[in-house]
Structure formats: C-alpha cells, structure tokens
Subunit: 134 residues, 2 copies
C-alpha cells in the first residue's frame, strides 16, 4: 500500500521558507504561525500556499499533523522519536516533550484493540509561568 517513492516536488523559495520555519523553531506550528515565520523570508507568501504546502508535506511524510483541544491543527517535522507535547495555556504554543509514559494500564472494554496513543500536558511554559508566580 505504501508508496515506495515520494512524489517529486519542486524546490521553491516558498516551500523552502515554510520548511525552514519548522526546522528553526523546532516546535509544532499552526498554518498561521508557519506563515509568519516564512514571510520573514518570502514577503508576499500567501496563506493558500502555506496550506497547500503543509498538505503536500504531510502527504510526502515530512510533516505530521498534531492537534490540541480547541485549536486549529498544528504540524511538526516527522521522523522524530516517539514523544508527546506540552501546551502552554499562556502563549498558546505547543512544545515537544521527550519520553513517554512508563506503561499504559488503562482498561480497554472487551474486544477493543489499541493501536496507539496521544498524550498532552497542559500548563505554563517557562516564559509564561512567572506571570502567575508574582
């Protein structure tokens, strides 16, 4: 089923700028965030192009979508080790967390088969936490 060769795509300034945004920030980005970062390199980059490239990169396998409650889809570079995320309620940014839970011992109903899991921690990141500590 899996396509052995990814579809060839051209290297455009727009695509490179978008790709760079993910590499340089190292955290999941929303289409809007990706647009902002990439626009620093390609000024008149349009949001439509960002959406098209995000979609293409997901299909190619270089990005994976990540979702946080009540937020639009974020995307992050693929190929990383199994990990989870931290969502900052202050700056509304997603961060990557190393590691995973020791073992998932949740009771599954009879006949249910689990194939994976997703875990998100919520709170305040280092930059936002102090404002609550005053």
């Amino acid at each position: 089923m899996a396509r052995s060769m990814m579809i060839e795509t051209r290297n455009t300034r727009q695509k490179n700028a978008i790709r760079a945004a993910f590499i340089e920030t190292g955290r999941p980005l929303s289409p809007e965030e990706a647009l902002h970062y990439a626009q620093q390199k390609v000024r008149n980059l349009s949001i439509a192009t960002v959406y098209r490239n995000l979609k293409a990169m997901v299909e190619e396998g270089s990005l994976v979508p990540v979702q946080f409650p009540g937020e639009s889809t974020r995307y992050e570079a693929s190929g990383k080790a199994h990990h989870h995320h931290f969502w900052c309620n202050g700056c509304k940014r997603a961060y990557e967390l190393e590691g995973c839970v020791p073992k998932l011992s949740l009771k599954l109903p009879r006949g249910f088969r689990s194939l994976g899991h997703e875990l998100v921690l919520y709170g305040m990141c280092a930059a936002c936490a102090p404002s609550y500590a005053s």
Copy 2:
C-alpha cells in the same frame, strides 16, 4: 471568580432531547451526532439549536468539550471521575475509558509547570475490530 449560581434556562423539548442524547449514549458526541439522536425525539430540531445548546451547557458546566485529532469538537457530560478516551478509527466514535496512567514521568523543561493532561488511545472498538481480523 466562579459563578455561584448557574444561569437559569428554560426547559424546552429541544434542550431535553439534546441532554438525553448524552445521557443515553454515555459517550462524547459531535454536534452532528447530538442532532441525529435528538431528532429522534424532536423531528425538526435544527443544527443551530444544537450548537446554541451545546454552548450553553458548556457555560453552565453540564458539558465539557473534548477534542480528537482531525475531528470537530465532541462534548460529554461533566462531573465524571478523571478519565480518558478511546477513539475508534473504524466508526469514528469516541468512547470513555476508566482509569488513568499510573504516573506521568515526562521530563518537563526547566520552568515549565504542568497543570493537567489529556490522553487518547486509538484503535478499533469491539464492533469494528472483527472486520480487520478476517
């Protein structure tokens, strides 16, 4: 900060039908799912009314929003013990799971403060799993 008394709302057939959908299914429902269930009791119920009531019930505190990757927001009855969810990739339904992970030992970056977590297991529910076992 917390409002000591919830806002009074009238008991309409529509509202009761929507509320019943959550009680009777016992699982998180999307606005569309809630509409379908409730329409069995109130035939010409409109989706706008469902949205309005879901929003009102969340504000009242009787429902809480739950989100699953790539899916529109689901809602479930509030007041339940801490629990997590199972997402069936087959029927695209959310189920409630009892229990939680023993302890979360994820490394948080310096200064990050965690206030909560969310865990979702993915797979096939009892009804959908057999079709993959053939």
